[in-house]
């Protein structure tokens, strides 16, 4: 054993030393590696660790309210309640499902299916199991908080239109923004899934109503569980908007249209504030928030009555006799007639070899301009049209604002059509036939207007040449009044006299008469099918209902209000539209006129 002490271990010790040298070098290299990662590349990893732990949460703002001119709510935000389950708070999930099914009157399987759909989410994330809770259900869940801590009530603001279908076309509706719309940038920085205004005021003033997002930076752990808040920028609520709409008049207008198809525009005569704008049939914008059933949606979109269309600004109709005042203004301005000029109506006349008829077959006899307007005599205006020719008619139609949009603050307004030979050559490559001029003279033919345009024409007459600028947002666009149209003020007097007589002296518009309110107006009944077609098909002329128009203002001096009514296939203007207008004039007078 002694030799062990002298055993020569130098060989293996040398090898150990060599190995240790390698290890020492490895330690130095390791230190250099850490130097690189922790010092040289530090900022990169620092950013990554910050990005890991900080989550940006968008806090959606509340959409602004929409009110009528008196501050009555037209669109608001309700809290919609939903119940969610937080699985990690449950002692026994089976038991929770059973209890929840009981409380919410749901099938237990339905709950389990909904939870299973989101099973991949971390257990602390709430999973919604029922939406649109009734208050009774909210109370039931809340009262069992200690027993069932896994069930939580979440409140979410939801757009609500308390008057349902009332003013639906004015307000418009909200829908989820589409990916194309996000890309187009029209809706700013909206995210997928957010609701944006698609039509009406909701669309027109989207940017003002929407407010701006808040941002919350919070610390999260690796599962995304919030661990604290770093900073918070609260969302800015959207602007509340006050409209020119008068809810009372709006409701009345819609009540008049119920069961019919048509449009009503009520507007102040001085500033063009829209007091009521109704279009029928209508829809309930709340349905767009609460989701449609597929059948409801198809009904709405495929319906032949087009309930989503705002007929007031998008419906194109022949103006018929309500175009006659425009004819009169053109005739007087061009000195083709004067107020005393008379034509003889025998019930029919042959012009350019064609027979043309008055609506009153026995004939009106000889009458001057005011009486022609009062009785809506066709013959008078055929003769006037023959003298004016199409170019001057279209010139004055345009002067009165036809053929272009009125500029109301709603999207999708249509411009209508004022025909002339140019237009005909351009679109049909055909020459203008003089007979067409005769049709246009009584507002038929290719001439097309929207109810709002008709109201604006009436507005210019009421203002004796001062146009109105129709608008829906109260207190704005009041700036400078548009320049007066190029028609002398005195030219309007005989026309207005005729319109006054139409209502107050036993004319076609007598049903619009309001005692002591001096309503001036013009009726119209427009053929929806040409007379020749009717005769060719051998149809009974009386069974074809005409569109029924009335457009007027009141009172005659210092006009306050303009009412335009259109009822599709409503029959004679005097029989259907005029009484509707009369009731609206009366309501306006009770509320606004002293």
């Amino acid at each position: 054993m002694k030799e062990k002490i002298y055993e020569d271990l130098s060989g293996i010790r040398l090898r150990a030393r060599a190995a240790f040298l390698v290890i020492k070098i490895a330690f130095v290299l390791l230190l250099l590696t850490f130097w690189r990662i922790q010092i040289l590349e530090h900022s990169r990893y620092w950013r990554q660790s910050e990005a890991n732990r900080i989550r940006e949460m968008i806090l959606p703002p509340q959409r602004g309210l929409i009110m009528d001119r008196d501050g009555r709510i037209l669109a608001m935000n309700n809290a919609a309640f939903q119940v969610a389950i937080i699985r990690e708070n449950a002692r026994d999930l089976e038991y929770s499902y059973e209890k929840a099914a009981d409380i919410l009157e749901l099938d237990q399987e339905v709950i389990q299916q909904r939870v299973a759909k989101y099973a991949a989410l971390p257990a602390f994330r709430p999973i919604v199991i029922k939406e649109n809770l009734r208050h009774r259900e909210v109370a039931r869940v809340e009262s069992r908080r200690s027993e069932l801590p896994e069930l939580v009530i979440q409140a979410e603001p939801k757009r609500n239109y308390p008057n349902t279908t009332c003013a639906a076309h004015v307000l418009g509706y909200l829908q989820e923004v589409s990916p194309e719309e996000i890309r187009s940038g029209r809706y700013g920085v909206r995210r997928a899934g957010s609701l944006v205004g698609k039509t009406g005021i909701e669309r027109q003033y989207e940017e003002r109503l929407v407010g701006s997002d808040g941002v919350k930076l919070e610390i999260v752990d690796s599962l995304g569980r919030p661990m604290g808040e770093i900073s918070r920028k609260d969302p800015v609520k959207g602007e509340d908007l006050k409209l020119t709409i008068d809810l009372d008049l709006q409701k009345a207008a819609e009540k008049e249209l119920e069961g019919r198809e048509g449009a009503v525009v009520v507007m102040t005569a001085d500033r063009g504030e829209i007091l009521a704008m109704a279009s029928f049939p209508t829809f309930d914008p709340n349905k767009f928030i609460n989701r449609f059933t597929p059948e409801e949606w198809l009904d709405l979109v495929r319906s032949r009555e087009h309930p989503l269309e705002n007929r007031s600004i998008r419906g194109l109709y022949s103006p018929g006799s309500i175009f006659k005042p425009v004819m009169a203004l053109a005739g007087l301005s061009n000195r083709e007639i004067n107020p005393g000029t008379s034509f003889y109506c025998s019930g029919g006349v042959t012009i350019y070899g064609h027979p043309f008829h008055c609506w009153f077959r026995p004939g009106h006899g000889s009458m001057d301009l005011a009486h022609a307007i009062q009785n809506s005599c066709n013959i008078y205006f055929y003769q006037l049209g023959k003298r004016l020719k199409i170019d001057r008619i279209s010139e004055y139609a345009r002067l009165m604002g036809l053929g272009r949009v009125t500029g109301i603050d709603l999207e999708g307004e249509k411009a209508g059509l004022v025909p002339d030979p140019d237009w005909k050559r351009r679109t049909q490559n055909l020459p203008w036939y003089p007979g067409e001029t005769i049709s246009v003279s009584i507002g038929q033919g290719p001439l097309l207007v929207t109810p709002l345009q008709a109201a604006c024409v009436t507005g210019i007459i009421a203002g004796r040449g001062m146009p109105v600028r129709p608008h829906l947002l109260l207190g704005e666009s009041d700036g400078e009044r548009p320049a007066r149209v190029g028609i002398l003020p005195e030219v309007f007097s005989p026309v207005i006299r005729g319109m006054w007589m139409s209502v107050n002296a036993g004319g076609t518009g007598h049903a619009a008469r309001v005692e002591g309110f001096d309503v001036c107006g013009k009726t119209g009944s427009t053929q929806t099918i040409g007379r020749e077609t009717i005769e060719r098909l051998g149809m009974d002329r009386t069974s074809i209902k005409t569109h029924s128009w009335f457009s007027g203002f009141a009172p005659r001096d210092n006009p306050g209000v303009i009412v335009t009514v259109l009822v599709e296939r409503g029959g004679m203007g005097g029989a259907t539209a005029a009484p509707v207008a009369g009731r609206l004039f009366r309501l306006y007078r009770r509320k606004y006129a002293r």
């Binding site: 293996i12 090898r15 990662i37 910050e50 752990d221 661990m227």
Partner: protein, 363 residues
């Protein structure tokens, strides 16, 4: 048996370094697990105490006796490893644990020390300048059998621990080109065989991840990436004790066990890394001094293999935390939480102290 001479040569320095390294570990364990229900830091202190007692008790026996009886320990260990393969229950997907009341032990850990004793016995009387084929195969078999048993559990990570030991023994015994070539061929064949027939998909994925960790950051590269982010975001001074977002917010995997070094890197920064590396290096250095003082071949082999065992584990673990080695499930010696590993390491250090203490004693 423990006379005054022995006590005079008790290696207080190594004991001190051992305890300091363990305490750094305890601090990091506390930081990374204080929000969990189990108090891992207190447990680790308790396990350290157990390890200390075993360390001192084992010093009473001459290491030469231990080496002499190594055969019995060795076959005992093989029997246990084989036994749990047959009778063991799967825990966390492997059969590496023996479950006892209150705790569970991992026999593959203590087998490391037993394999070292066994190799020391094989080479104790080996005086040739170069290793012979016979000794080579013998030592290869001594390491290979437990390696395979552990790899079958399957716990490839722990099995990998045996490889540095074997390499350490070969280095000392002297290895020539012929032998090296043979070893490489065996290794490559074993590797190919293992890749095609033994490795699980997730293990292959971990190795592939090493080549491109950026790919699939939420998949298998996730752990490595999060660990690198932790270390890198620590910077020079670190984010502060218990303020590491990567560990506190649980982005780091296995924070108190395999990835404890990432916690140190994140919370104490480059400075903390340097200090930890230095303290560990000093411990290795102290072990190496004992190697130089050892009175016999057995002692040199023993100390060197333990030295290599510590070095190997340390490097594998640290390189893993910065994405330079596959996620192998090897703990950081002395610092990571884990009873079997800590106690085994205490026993290993005890052996080193044993060699140093008995350097002047003639048996």
């Amino acid at each position: 048996m423990l006379d005054r001479t022995l006590l005079r040569h008790f290696d207080w320095v190594l004991l001190g370094l051992l305890i300091v390294n363990c305490l750094i570990g305890v601090a990091a364990i506390y930081s990374s697990s204080h929000y969990l229900t189990t108090n891992y830091a207190v447990r680790q202190v308790f396990l350290l105490a157990v390890g200390m007692i075993l360390l001192v008790v084992l010093l009473a026996l001459d290491y030469n006796h231990l080496v002499t009886y190594a055969v019995y320990f060795y076959f005992g260990c093989l029997a246990i490893l084989a036994g749990i393969l047959v009778f063991g229950k799967l825990i966390a997907g492997t059969k590496s644990w023996i479950r006892l009341p209150f705790f569970q032990i991992q026999p593959s850990e203590i087998t490391k020390v037993v394999v070292i004793l066994m190799l020391a016995r094989i080479f104790a009387e080996f005086r040739k300048p170069r290793i012979t084929l016979g000794r080579g195969f013998l030592s290869g078999a001594v390491v290979g059998v437990p390696f395979c048993l552990v790899a079958l559990q399957p716990d490839l990570g722990t099995a990998l621990n045996y490889v540095p030991i074997f390499i350490g023994a070969l280095i000392l015994a002297g290895i020539d080109r012929r032998m090296l070539a043979l070893l490489l061929i065996v290794a490559i064949l074993a590797g190919l065989f293992g890749w095609n027939f033994l490795l699980k998909d997730y293990q292959k994925q971990r190795i592939l991840t090493l080549l491109s960790p950026g790919e699939d950051p939420l998949g298998s590269g996730y752990h490595i990436l999060q660990s690198k982010i932790a270390v890198g975001s620590g910077g020079f001074l670190g984010k502060g004790y218990m303020k590491g977002t990567q560990s506190q917010l649980r982005f780091l995997p296995a924070r108190h066990t395999d990835f404890i070094f990432s916690v140190i890197g994140e919370e104490f920064g480059f400075l903390g890394v340097v200090i930890t590396l230095t303290l560990f290096f000093l411990m290795l250095l102290r072990m190496f001094q004992s190697l130089m003082l050892a009175r016999d071949r057995t002692g040199v082999y023993l100390v060197f293999m333990i030295f290599i065992l510590f070095t190997g584990q340390f490097f594998i673990n640290v390189l893993m935390t910065i994405g330079l080695f596959p996620v192998a499930g090897i703990p950081l010696p002395l610092l990571s939480y884990g009873g079997s590993s800590l106690i085994t390491n205490c026993i290993a250090v005890s052996l080193v102290m044993n060699v140093r203490m008995r350097r002047f004693v003639n048996v």
